[in-house]
Amino acid sequence: MKTGIGALDSFLDIGDGIITLRASDPRLLSPLATAMLVRACRPGKRILYLHFVEYHDRYWTIDIDGIVQAAKMQGADVDNLLESVFFLRVFSRDTVEMRQNWQRIFDFGTGLNLVILDSISDLYKEPGKKDASLMSMTHAIGMFARLCAMNSCHGVVFDNSPQPIHPYLGEHSAVIIEVKGRPRFHFEVQKHPCKAECVVEIQSQHSLARWL
């Protein structure tokens, strides 16, 4: 897994597993998404980009022109890139728990080189609301992890929620990096296989989802 940013790539160089990139400003993640797509493109392999946002908000992370431009600058095979990167949008809170929807993704998702799960922050629990969305969040992360495991490929989650990371996402991620700053990137590695983990003891199970 490479982005072309040396400092970041050394932390992303893990066998497989889920990498979570967090940033409060989604615009910070856009160039990273572009760089990953361009670099992960291999002949005969496909990349799946899952998008949780509303169709009408679809442009905030996907910058098609930017991707094509970056591919040209990298000297990558643009035609191959255009044909091997697949987008799936409108995967919203209402539909995320639908078994048949995930089945369709599993049917599609063989021979994948990389799976990106964008805008997962849409599934975070809204402050002051009931825990209904917690189910869809854990369900989505579980299914996503299964998809990556089935394909033995990297999974990248873009999370721009201002809230602390969802515990299930944190548990499943091999690497968690917080992206900060603009125009120069600053990265804060929160979780990595080489880093000792700070274990927080959970006092009560009542506030957690049933399979946590």
Binding site: H56, L88, V90, T95, N101, F108
Partner: protein, 683 residues
């Protein structure tokens, strides 16, 4: 008993519904009709599921029906209709059915029961019926008219200015009275009021404890009459003509506005089947849901409780090809003469109907000769009419009928009523396309939306080609309108007829501009939706310039309007520009001499976010910080001390230099990039 009456209300009971009728003499008759709550089960083993379901103690009947169980189902399959004994057991039965082995889906539990009754009986609120009843029970009802309106008794409420916990209640033909909110429901029942209007009643009635048992997250409802919250109704009406906000304590004003809007509620209620007090509380997009659920039911589809479909995965290549907006033909900046403005009538709804675009028809495998979607190559069914086109077609047909009635009616009041009714339907038509891509719409489908856009682009390019073949020049095109030059009225009429015939979508000649100006953008390029022109009847039409901007000061609007008219009406455009320059100098001179009043300098701008969220020091924000107001509108002037609220500023401290700059900018906006156009004109 036989009588003629308008159906005003349907109330759900335990094993029946109560139908409220209004008779011709203004009387109210309530009849009951047997109607049990029901829903559907989809199972891998229908026989076994039917057996299980029918053994439930609260299930009255469970029978297998043939239904399309999903939108992509190729044919009808078995679905089990479960009829529950009493409404109070409904939720329990639905919950219990989930544990039946092999159950794939439970459908139609989210549809209100009254709406199911409306669909089953093909009933419509506010329609006139010939009713036969016996001992308070409905025997039969037959629709006779949907155009004649019932004699409704209406009222309005507003909090009193002295004590907002009390309400002013105005009922037609009765003196205004003061009432406590807790007694409102009783008063409405006693007076036999059919419809009560309020402005923001949903929030203040709940606060002061009126009808607390009937209040829910959607609003406050009364059991004896429909409560219409005009704040919501006006807010959701795209074509609203009433100014907001209405004075809170003016119940009479609210009653007047409410009565003028009854026709809209009635029309939307008749078209969608939703109750009038629901209509006023739902977005125009949501009206589509009601409309299409009816069409789906008519076609034998099960309506799922949750949206299941998602967009199919698309490669970047396909996404670049398909994910486009409406087409724009950018104009070359310049001055043009004899330009025809032609508009496609309800372009996107007509495309949906003509090309049968619906989630279940765009991936057709059944037809021998399907329609091929341009660029995408998808196949659209030509044999089975889709549910979305069916719903939209009904609205289009009805709107045409109402437009015709509005034109031909001799009674001005009737004309206004029909016009309001057709404008109400336009709310559905303008949102039907965008709603196709809305994730919470039960039948949304991104591919359908892309299809419509592709057809729209294709049709606009056809219109351009036909214009060029006819020897015209297509100057400018914007999604559903095209501006052509080089002909006369007769030739333009021939042109619109030809385009209509070839595309299948009616193109109308909207107007002919004797002179039309397309000013350039700041980078000298042509820009969309930025023009001004003089129509043959002497009226001016402008888009995208200061005269149209809501945040322009009256001074700039006055000046620009006069300059634009000078450019448009002078015999020679060059002379017109010179005259406009003269007018600019004159306005600047008058500005220096202090001829204008303070109101001419005031600029109005809305504060869209919480004022604390603004990081910029934009003039309207600076002024708003000095004098915040509840309406979140900043009315300010440029003073010598910076932006100030208009109410605090005086005429003497106006920054003349800044306003002179604004006048210069308004002139520049009119003539930018017009030099090449002068040669154009000579041609």
């Amino acid at each position: 008993m036989r009588f003629q009456g308008w159906l005003l209300d349907i109330r759900e009971g335990q094993d029946s519904v109560s139908l409220g009728f209004k008779t011709r003499d203004g009387g109210n008759i309530v009849l009951s009709d047997r109607f049990r709550h029901s829903f559907y089960l989809v199972s891998g083993n229908p026989q076994e599921a039917e057996d299980y379901a029918s053994k439930h103690p609260h299930v009255l009947d469970a029978e297998i029906e043939q239904k399309y169980v999903s939108l992509d189902a190729k044919g009808k399959t078995d679905a089990i209709k479960v009829v529950v004994d009493y409404a109070r057991n409904y939720k329990r039965v639905v919950k219990d059915m989930k544990i039946i082995p092999g159950i794939k889906e439970i459908a139609e539990t989210a549809i209100p029961q009254y709406f199911k009754y409306v669909m089953e009986k093909d009933a419509a609120f506010f329609s006139l019926y010939d009713v036969v009843a016996e001992q308070g029970k409905l025997i039969s009802m037959e629709k006779t008219s949907s155009l004649e309106l019932p004699p409704l008794s209406c009222g309005a409420i507003a909090p009193t200015s002295v004590n907002p916990k009390y309400l002013n209640l105005v009922l037609e033909g009765k003196p205004q009275m003061v009432i406590h909110p807790a007694k409102l429901a009783e008063a409405l029942r006693e007076t036999g009021t059919d419809m009560i209007f309020s402005y923001g009643g949903d929030s203040y009635l709940k606060r002061y404890g009126a009808a607390s048992s009937l209040g829910n997250i959607f609003g406050v409802f009364f059991d004896s009459c429909a409560h219409i919250d005009l704040r919501k109704d006006i807010g959701y009406d795209i074509y609203n003509e009433h100014n907001l906000p209405i004075g809170q304590d003016s119940a009479k004003e609210i009653l007047g506005i409410g009565k003028s809007r009854i026709a809209r509620l009635i029309e939307l209620s008749q078209m969608t089947g939703a109750k009038p007090d629901t209509i006023c509380r739902i977005t125009p997009g949501r009206l589509n849901t009601y409309l299409h659920i009816r069409a789906a039911k008519r076609n034998g589809y099960l309506v799922p409780d949750l949206r299941k479909e998602m967009e199919r995965p698309k490669s970047l290549k396909l996404l670049m090809q398909l994910d486009k907006g409406g087409s724009i033909i950018y104009p070359t900046p310049g001055i043009y003469e004899n330009v025809a403005k032609c508009d496609f009538a309800s372009m996107y709804p007509n495309i949906i109907v003509k090309y049968n675009i619906s989630p279940e028809t765009i991936t057709c495998t059944c037809c021998k000769e399907p329609m091929i979607v341009p660029e995408a190559g998808w196949k659209t069914c030509t044999e089975r009419k889709g549910i979305i086109p069916q719903g939209i077609e009904e609205v289009l047909r009805r709107r045409l009928e109402l437009k015709h009635l509005a034109k031909t009616s001799t009674d001005p009041a009737k004309r206004a009523e029909f016009d309001m009714r057709q404008r109400a339907l336009k709310n559905i038509l303008v949102t039907c396309f965008g709603y196709l891509g809305f994730s919470n719409f039960i039948f949304s489908n991104v591919e359908c939306k892309e299809c419509v856009m592709l057809y729209g682009r294709h049709i606009l390019s056809m219109a351009k080609e036909i214009a060029e073949d006819a020897g015209f020049e297509a100057l400018y095109g914007m999604v559903d309108s095209v501006f052509v030059s080089g002909g006369n009225e007769k030739q333009y009429l021939d042109y619109v007829r030809k385009v209509s015939a070839e595309t299948g979508i009616t193109l109308e000649l909207d107007c002919i501009f004797s002179r039309l100006v397309f000013p350039a953008a700041k980078d000298a390029s042509g820009v969309a939706n930025h023009y001004y022109g003089l129509m043959q009847d002497g009226r001016m039409e402008a888009r995208g310039i200061a005269v149209r901007h809501s945040d322009s000061c009256a001074l700039a609007v006055q000046c620009q309007e006069r300059m634009a008219k000078a450019i448009l009406s002078a015999p020679d455009a060059c002379a017109g520009i010179k005259e406009a320059k003269g007018l600019l100098a004159d306005f600047k001179k008058r500005l220096k001499e202090g001829e204008f009043v303070l109101a001419d300098f005031a600029i109005t701008k809305a504060i869209g976010r919480d004022i604390g969220d603004y990081v910029s020091n934009a003039p309207h924000v600076v002024a708003f910080r000095q004098e915040p107001n509840a309406a979140n509108v900043s009315v300010f002037v440029y003073s010598l001390f910076g932006p100030r609220p208009a109410r605090q500023a005086s005429r003497r401290e106006i920054d003349i230099k800044k306003y002179a700059e604004l006048l210069d900018a308004s002139f520049e906006e009119l003539v930018r990039g017009l030099r090449p156009a002068i040669t154009h004109l000579k041609k």
